[in-house]
Amino acid sequence: MKKILDIIPEQVKRLLIPVSILILSFILLRSFLIPPDFGKYGHYRASAVDEIAAKDIKYIGQEACEDCHDDVVAKKNMSYHRNVMCEVCHGPSAAHIEDPDGNKLSAPRERGYCPLCHEYIPARPTGFPQIVSESHNPMKACIACHDAHDPAPPEVPKECEACHAEIARTKAVSHHMEVSCTRCHETSEEHKVDPRNFRPSKPMTREFCGSCHAQKADASKELTRIDLATHGERYVCWQCHYPHLPESK
């Protein structure tokens, strides 16, 4: 052992002292600066997960509303709004559950709120009930006619355009403006109250359009005429032409 120590040059032995101090201070600093749970599950502080997990919940869910307001929830669950949770309109309710009297919830009563979902926008999916606010009973609050918990229309819509505004607007500026919707779409009365389960029909034969547009059809001479025998014989007319705007490509 003494031999080995003698072999090591003096300068190396002296150098060892500051090097070991450096290493020791690094280990000390590291244990002081890095929290003990760092690296427990990965290259991060394990307790950060718990800090995030411990955040407060604000949206408590419809089941909590049902405990007290079971009548309203039951009514809503039978209506078109069955999939719209209470907190969509009434706001986050966790505080209200804790202290029902201290933290009252609000309900949107102004005309601007319902159009967030129901204003007509071309990007909205077809079939979703939409209105044009400027022409749909202007100045009247939505809740004056509609019960938000059971939003079926107060009276069955008389005109198709009440729901199919997009198609009605397109057709109104087309050559088919004079053709009524029901001329092509057989629509049962049930469609007005249960639109998805009672769908209107579509013309399924070429001869239907041909009743106006065939060469020998008994109709105004100004109409476009085609020869049903040679014109696109494999297809029903609306597979190529858009009947609500027939002049489009």
Binding site: G42, R45, V49, D50, A53, A54, E87, P122, R124
Partner: protein, 239 residues
């Protein structure tokens, strides 16, 4: 380093959060892999998700700070594409005046894609952003130094620097809710069920059904980030 086999045991702050399942050890991150499905055809662009997210997570109410937001795509005849997202959709969308004919138009809700291979985690110099065992990328706000590397690295623009705390913020899939078996706030309030949330590892979950019933796509698949947010009915123009 990491002990893979144990579930989260009781850690700090156990005193004031007794009902918290992650703290009492009843929640096992190993057995979950969270994901979200989004049905483009169902989204009506009401923006209630973006609004609820801000409420639930105390996101700054100013514009440009979003954990989730809704974009509107308008594709005109001739191929011109216009994308807008006024205030992230929090105040809803207004009808635009068009001088051209619309070919197709739709809404796309966006959020952090909770990638299986997150580019943001790779670039973090302090270990402040990390991916948990249950597939959620989180930010340790005490460790984040606000260098914004991760904000630049995210190809989906899902991160932002909180103007008050000066640390990075992002969607956590509402981690504080999902560990208690509650859906994220955006999923909770979606009036048309355009958002579906669930466990990819589960035998049966709403997400598993969504992935079985739909043809699905992810955003920017060529980046190999392997997102956990799946879109049904995604258009080729969506970036």
């Amino acid at each position: 380093m990491s002990c893979l086999s144990v579930s989260f045991p009781s850690l700090l702050a156990a005193k004031d959060n007794k009902n918290n399942s992650i703290l009492d050890g009843s929640y096992d991150p190993q057995s979950h892999s969270w994901g979200m499905g989004i049905m483009i055809d169902k989204c009506i662009g009401c923006g209630r998700c973006a609004n609820a997210c801000k409420m639930e997570n105390n996101v700054p109410q100013l514009p440009f700070y979003f954990r989730t937001w809704v974009e509107r795509y308008i594709i005109y005849e001739g191929g011109e594409v216009v994308v807008d997202s006024p205030n992230g959709g929090v105040d809803g969308f207004k009808r635009r005046i068009h001088d051209k004919k619309i070919l197709r138009s739709f809404f796309v809700p966006k959020l952090c894609n909770q990638c299986d291979k997150p580019p943001c985690v790779q670039v973090c110099p302090t270990g402040a952003t990390f991916r948990t065992k249950d597939g959620v990328t989180l930010v340790d706000s005490k460790y984040c130094i606000g260098c914004e590397y991760c904000i630049q690295a995210c190809p989906y623009g899902a991160r932002f620097l909180d103007p008050q705390t000066r640390v990075t913020e992002k969607c956590t899939f509402c981690y504080h809710r999902i560990i208690k078996n509650m859906p994220p706030a955006c999923v909770e309030v979606c009036p048309t069920q355009a958002r579906v949330f669930g466990d990819r590892k589960a035998h049966a979950s709403p997400l598993v059904r969504f992935m079985r019933m739909n043809k699905i796509l992810v955003l920017k698949p060529y980046l190999n980030t392997e997102p956990a947010v799946f879109y049904a009915g995604l258009d080729m123009e969506v970036r």
